[in-house]
Every structure is written in structure tokens, then in C-alpha cells.
């Protein structure tokens, strides 16, 4: 189920909301949130609820083990077992097909035959997110950053919380532990305005901006034809804005829903296209993921300690894994490697970069990110190189292929992205006129949600 579907807006959300506030005790609300999370997930495919339940149960039991045992060996076992279970789930469902097709390709290049059949495994929606939730819980519990909960439903509602279940943000247990603890004391009125404000703004970003841009650029990007240079830049610029409005819109909706249910979810985007350099970009883009990559990969690899070579290796390795986390495809691996190299370069020559005027730093970072999205967007490597080839060789403007609305949307998008404050920087205590304006835009969203085909969020595929 999508947040931007009539089913969610008119059936699921009202029922989940009414049920939640009707129940009073902590335990009842935990159970209700777990139930709604599984119901939400089952709209995609009920069979895969079992996977989530398994991952939840294993991590919960490991948490209880960590709570009970002081013996380092047993504690290590409680750390390793659930992580291995989660990684095996993730590896099987997300990376098996990729491994087989890569083996086929490599064997083909070497002139060898490799006859392992494609398994046709379905990728369960959101598996990357909920396995990250459970892994982060166990690692934090092992490190002593959090005290594992004894309440199974508190943990299961944390994992299956529908607002963050299938596309994040990757909320760590410690970030909402406090809200979960006092969930029975939450007041429905406290989060009403801020919750709906976040939700409506997120829906506007997604439905009115991201999806509309996609309607214009997707046909060109999917045709696999040679794009004119101007067209390729416009498509990638459009995709850059689409991706931001899509994912930050989703995150805003998730945060809004969190407020409506008495929980404060963390910020996931902090005006990333205002970043002054690539390291700054990663502090602002998909913050919940990049902070997880930092805490659970980069630092355990050694982080910034050791020789330059080691630090660079850590950076590259972290970004490669980060790229692969996004999707089982070489395009994502290369995208990760590209950002890894940019981070390494900035680490080497950052002092030079920082001497440039701020406007130039910002523009330069933005262009580098736009170029990287070519790998992120392309269906395969050929397509990515086609797009990049068109971008970096002159073969005409081709802008006439696009309707005027694309330029209007890019203009509005540019204003919002580069100049306006982001949703966490505004107060959400709107006056009469802004409230009515938001309401009018919300009506437009409802019309499109009801009248158009619901468009899935780009990050659902991860």
C-alpha cells in the first residue's frame, strides 16, 4: 500500500488512527501498531510478513539474551546470530539473482559456460529497511547504547511501524525508545497540526512535483534512444529533483504520520542540494542511512584512524556497500564507487575546494551529484553510459521535446530546493492563508491520487 493511494488515505489511515487513540494502555497500543504494520505490509504480499516476523523474533530473543547474559562469548553469539540471519535473508532475497546473473556474465566474458538457472526470487518490499532496523537494534544493544526491551510488542511495533516500514527513514531504536515508553501518555492533539503539516507537504512534494516531473522525463529515459545533450541534462536535472521530492516527500509523510501517532521520527533530509561539498552532501542526504553506514560500517572498518590509505579504503568500502544496499545491480555499485571516489578526493584535496567561493562550491557539488544520479537512474550500465555520453558530448539541445510544464516545475523545484528552508526548518504553525493554501494543494493531491495511477515511491525498490 502506498501513502499516496486512496486505500491508505480513506481506509487504512482513519482506521489505524481511530483504533490507536481509542486504545489506552501501552501494551494495547504496541499490539495495535504491530497489527497495523503487518496489515499495511500484507497489502503488498501477505506471505512475506512471515519473513519480517522471523527477523523480529530472532532479534528480540537475541536482545533478551544480551539482557540476561554477561558472558562475552554468549553475548557475541547474541550479536552474531541475528545479524547472520538478517544478512542471509537479505542476501538470499536481494542479491541471489544478482550473483547468478553476474556469474553468468563473468563466465561469458571468460568464454566459459555457467549453467545455474535464474531463480526468479521476488524481492520483498522494504527488506533492506527492516533488516537494518533489527541489525541496528542488536548492535546498539551489544554496544550498550540501548537497553534491549523486554516487551516483545514494543520491539515488534518498532520494527513494523507502518510509517517507516517499507522505505525508511531508518529509525534507530534509541531514537524512538522514549516515545514508545510514554506512548500511553501521548495526547492526540499535540501532534495533529505538525503531523498533518508534514504529511500534506510530503504528499505535495511527491504527487504534485515528483510524479509530475516523472511523467515528463520517464518516457524519454525509458526509450533507450540517443538523447540530445540538452535533453540528457534536462532529464537528469529532472530526475535529480524528482528523486529528492519523492524520497524527502515520503520521509516527510513518515514523520507526519509519526507525529499523528505520538512519535517523533528523525530528520532524513537536510536540504542536501545546498551542500558545499560531497562530505556535506552525505551529512544531509538520507541522513538515517548515511549515519548508519558511518556507525555500523565506516567506524568498525577503522573510520578515520590509521594511514591515509586505510582511511580511503574504509571510505570506498563503505560507499560500495552503501551502493549495493540500494540495489542489486552494477549501476548501484558504480554509483557507490563514484561517491566513494568523490569522498576520497575531497579528503585529499578538500582544502583547495573549500577555498572556492561558496556559490561555486555549492554549484560544483550539485553538478557532481547530478552526474552520479545517471548511474542511479539507469536501468543498466549501457543505458547509464548512453545518458552520460549524451551529457558530455554535444549533439543538440533537444529541449523542444519537453512540454513547458517541465521548465515550470524545474523552476519551482529549484526555488524550493536551493533557496527555501526545508520541512524541519519551518515551524509548522501556519496562519490562516498558508493553511488554506496547503489545504487547496492537498485537494489537488487528492484529485490526482484518486484519478491517476498511484505512483510507487522510488525508494520502495530498495
Amino acid at each position: 500500500m502506498l501513502f499516496n493511494s486512496p486505500m491508505f488515505l480513506f481506509v487504512f489511515l482513519p482506521l489505524a488512527y481511530a483504533g490507536f487513540w481509542r486504545l489506552e494502555s501501552k501494551q494495547q497500543r504496541y499490539v495495535w501498531l504491530t497489527f497495523t504494520g503487518y496489515a499495511f505490509y500484507s497489502f503488498w504480499d501477505a506471505r512475506f510478513c512471515a519473513l519480517m516476523a522471523f527477523s523480529t523474533l530472532v532479534s528480540y530473543l537475541a536482545g533478551r539474551g544480551l539482557l540476561a547474559w554477561k558472558d562475552p562469548k554468549r553475548r557475541k553469539l547474541c550479536l552474531v546470530l541475528p545479524i547472520v540471519a538478517d544478512l542471509m535473508l537479505l542476501g538470499f532475497f536481494k542479491y541471489t539473482n544478482f550473483a547468478i546473473s553476474s556469474a553468468h556474465s563473468i563466465a561469458g566474458w571468460c568464454g566459459q559456460s555457467f549453467s545455474f538457472p535464474e531463480l526468479g526470487i521476488i524481492l520483498p518490499v522494504g527488506i533492506s529497511f527492516y533488516t537494518f532496523h533489527t541489525i541496528s537494534y542488536i548492535v546498539d544493544a551489544y554496544r550498550g547504547t540501548i537497553v534491549p526491551t523486554r516487551n516483545f510488542f514494543e520491539f515488534s511495533c518498532y520494527v513494523s511501524l507502518f510509517s517507516q516500514l517499507v522505505a525508511g527513514p531508518i529509525v534507530r531504536f534509541r531514537q524512538i525508545e522514549g516515545d514508545l515508553e510514554k506512548i500511553d501518555r501521548a495526547d492526540w492533539r499535540a501532534g495533529l497540526n505538525i503531523g498533518w503539516s508534514f504529511f500534506v507537504i510530503g504528499l505535495i512534494k511527491k504527487v504534485l512535483i515528483a510524479d509530475t516531473i516523472a511523467l515528463i522525463i520517464d518516457p524519454r529515459l525509458n526509450e533507450q534512444v540517443q538523447l540530445a545533450s540538452g535533453e540528457a541534462w534536462l532529464c537528469m536535472l529532472g530526475y535529480t529533483y524528482q528523486l529528492y521530492f519523492d524520497f524527502s516527500g515520503y520521509s516527510d509523510m513518515a514523520v507526519g504520520l509519526g507525529h499523528l501517532f505520538g512519535m517523533k521520527l528523525p530528520q532524513n533530509f537536510d536540504s542536501p542540494y545546498k551542500a558545499l561539498n560531497i562530505a556535506d552532501f552525505w551529512r544531509r542526504w538520507h541522513i538515517s542511512l548515511s549515519s548508519c553506514l558511518r556507525d555500523y560500517l565506516y567506524i568498525p572498518f577503522g573510520g578515520g584512524r590509521g594511514s591515509k590509505l586505510l582511511v580511503n579504503r574504509n571510505l570506498l568500502l563503505t560507499m560500495l556497500i552503501g551502493g549495493l544496499w540500494h540495489g542489486a545491480s552494477w549501476t548501484f555499485v558504480i554509483w557507490g564507487a563514484y561517491h566513494g571516489l568523490l569522498l576520497v578526493s575531497y579528503r585529499q584535496w578538500g582544502a583547495l575546494w573549500d577555498r572556492m567561493p561558496r556559490l561555486l562550491q555549492r554549484a560544483g557539488t550539485f553538478v557532481l551529484v547530478v552526474v552520479g544520479w545517471a548511474f542511479f537512474r539507469a536501468n543498466n550500465l549501457d543505458s547509464a553510459f548512453h545518458i552520460l555520453g549524451s551529457m558530455f558530448s554535444w549533439n543538440g539541445l533537444g529541449a523542444e521535446a519537453f512540454p513547458i510544464s517541465l521548465f515550470m516545475l524545474l523552476g519551482i523545484g529549484a526555488l524550493i530546493i536551493h533557496l527555501f528552508p526545508n520541512t524541519f526548518e519551518v515551524k509548522h504553525s501556519w496562519g490562516l492563508l498558508p493553511s488554506i493554501s496547503l489545504g487547496a494543494l492537498f485537494v489537488l493531491c487528492i484529485i490526482i491520487v484518486m484519478g491517476g495511477d498511484p505512483s510507487p515511491f522510488l525508494y520502495f525498490q530498495f
Binding site: P6, M7, L9, F10, V11, P14, D187, R189, A190, L192, N193, I194, G195, W196, S197, F199, V200, T212, L215, I216, P219, P403, I404, S405, W430, L432, S435, I436, L438, G439, F442, V443, I446, I447, I448, V449, M450, G451, G452
Partner: protein
Amino acid sequence: MRALTPKIWQIGVIAPGILIATCLAEAVLRFMPAESFAYRTWELAIANKTPATAFRPLSRWVVRRAYGDLARMGSFITTREYHDEVFSTDALGFRNPPGLLSNTTPKILLFGTSFSVGCGITDDETLSAFLQQRLQVPVYNAAAPGGSCDLSLIRSVRKRLGVASGVVLIEVLERGDVPQNQMNLLASALEGSGTNTCRSQAGFSIVDFLEDSKVAMLARNCCRLRRNGWLLPRRVDVRERRLLNGDQLLFLSSHESLAVKPREPRQAIEHWTRFAEALKAENLQVIFFLVPEKPTVYGHLLSPSLNGEPRKSAFLSGLAKGLTERGISVVNLQEVFWKRAAEDLLRHKYLYRKDDTHWSPHGIQVAAEELIPEISSALLSGTQTVSN
């Protein structure tokens, strides 16, 4: 606590208020007839179909100022060709007058796609209605949307109607692939307890309820308007082309490619030969009629021309030749449509609706006139076989 209570003009009240207002609007609009929101009867007929019936049995939809699917899909407003439509279904869910089967057994069964059903055509202008009027024998329209037909469907319809012998008319569309038993569900429903079975399989689905809502229909109409080619790309690639006489005609680009790149007919010949032989063994005489697509008929009459000089569809010609060689009755409408399209150009009269993929009442009339001699001789030979 009072400070927490949201004020009426705040977004925390406005947004859920909009959702509640939408639900209320839906509740009110449920009392309005669906016809007020539809652009043609076909939209309602399709929306109300169950998996086990061609359409909802014993229904009647009336739409004033209906217009064509191409104008709709491509959000063309000025090219719309408005007309009134009535669409009625019988107890089995096919498009026939409800009283057709009351005291007679059909002599002719018609199977096919939306062309034979009469998409965009009012009840008394359909192919079956026209044939019945001219031949003065009962014609049963068993065409269903989407697919062509398979043997199980023909056998089920025949059994339900008690047809011992007769003529089976089968429409083969230029773009139509060899059917892959799509109608099995429909056939098994007919084999069962009839309309009750059909209805019981429909069930209640909240997803259907949401999708069929009047607010959703209104919203869809609004959303389509923005996909008009200059504000946003069209939803479907529909092209407006000018004829030699200056009139505008709409075409689906995927159908245009058929006129340029024809398909190989071998598989279809084999399939339909087996099909005809099986029905012949069951005392049914089969006549295939081959329907060309709009661009095949009008491609060479466009300015600029779509496919250069007039070029026959190799698929239809090959299929007609292959079936004729095997002694199977075929009426290829391509020739007559070509001739009539050119002749009617100066009279601004068209075989297909200008804003639709389907044929016009005039096109149906031309097709029926072409079919009548073949049907008459089949009926005659059928009578002789029975009397012998």
C-alpha cells in the same frame, strides 16, 4: 490542554476535513446515476463487468454526448464526435436486447471483440442488430471485450441457447493474436447455473468500491485533461492526422505501426483452421470476417500518407488466402473498406469514428452488407443439410 486543541482553520483540521468531505461527496454522488460521469457506455459496461460475464447481466446504460476512446485517451477536446449511446445486456451478460431469447432460438452466433460488441455504438446500430434486421433471423451477439473467442465459449453459449445447428460468425481483428483460452472462466460460468453463478463470483471488494467511486470518476476526468500533450505528455500515444479532404482523424500510434510492419499469418491460419474444423464436426458453419485497423484503411488517404502508396495488410490477405484455400468461409473486409473509404472521402463519411479506434455505424453497415451474401448461402446450405 486548551492550547493544544487545534483551531478550525489549522491544517490539522483542514486536511482530515478534506478527507471527510471527500467521503461525504462520494456518499452523495452514489445516489447519482453513473451515466452522468461516464464518457461513453463502454466505460460503464467494463467497470461493471464481473470476471465471469462479458458484462453485467440485464443492465442498461444510456450516455448522452458520448465520444470516442481516442479523444479520451489522448485528451483531445476539439476532435470529439458527440453522439448518444444505449447499451443493453441480456440475462447471460452479452449485448443483446433482453427479450431476444424469449420465444426464439438464434440461427446466427456472433463472436468477437469490442468491434462486434459494438463499442461506441448504440444498441440498434450494432453488427448483430443490423444483420438481424436485414436477414430477418435471430442473431445472438456473444462477443466479449478484450478477447476473441475459444471453442469452450462457443460450446457453452450454444448449449445455453439450445442451438442445434447454425452459423457462427467470428471476428478476427488485424491486431488480434491467436486467443489463448481467455474465455474459459466465462465459458465455465455459462456451463454452471447461469447468471447467479456469474454474480456470486463478483463478490465485494473494497478496492473495486474505491476505484468505481464517482469521486474517482470525476478525478480521473480532471487528471486526463492535464495529459493533453502540451501541459503533460499524453497518457497514450494518440496522434491527430489530417486526411486528404482536410478532416482530422485520430489514430493510436501502436496501431499505425501495424499498417507499416505487418505480421506473419501462418500461426493464425493453423489455429483458425483447426477451430473451423472442430465446429464443422459439431454441425456449426463458421464464417470468419477479417477486420482491418483504422490506419490500414486510412493510412494512404492521409496527408502526408502514413505508408506511402495503398498497401494491403499482409496479415489479413495471407490469412484470408490461407483459410480460403482450406475451404473455410472468409470475408476480408479490407478490400471493401479501402474502396468505400476512398469513395466516401468527399462525402466526409467515415467507416471508423473519427475519434475512436472502432468502426462507425456506417462501417458496420458496409461490413454487414459484405457479410450478408456469405451468411445467406451458409444458412441455405445448412437448411439443405438438415432436410437431406
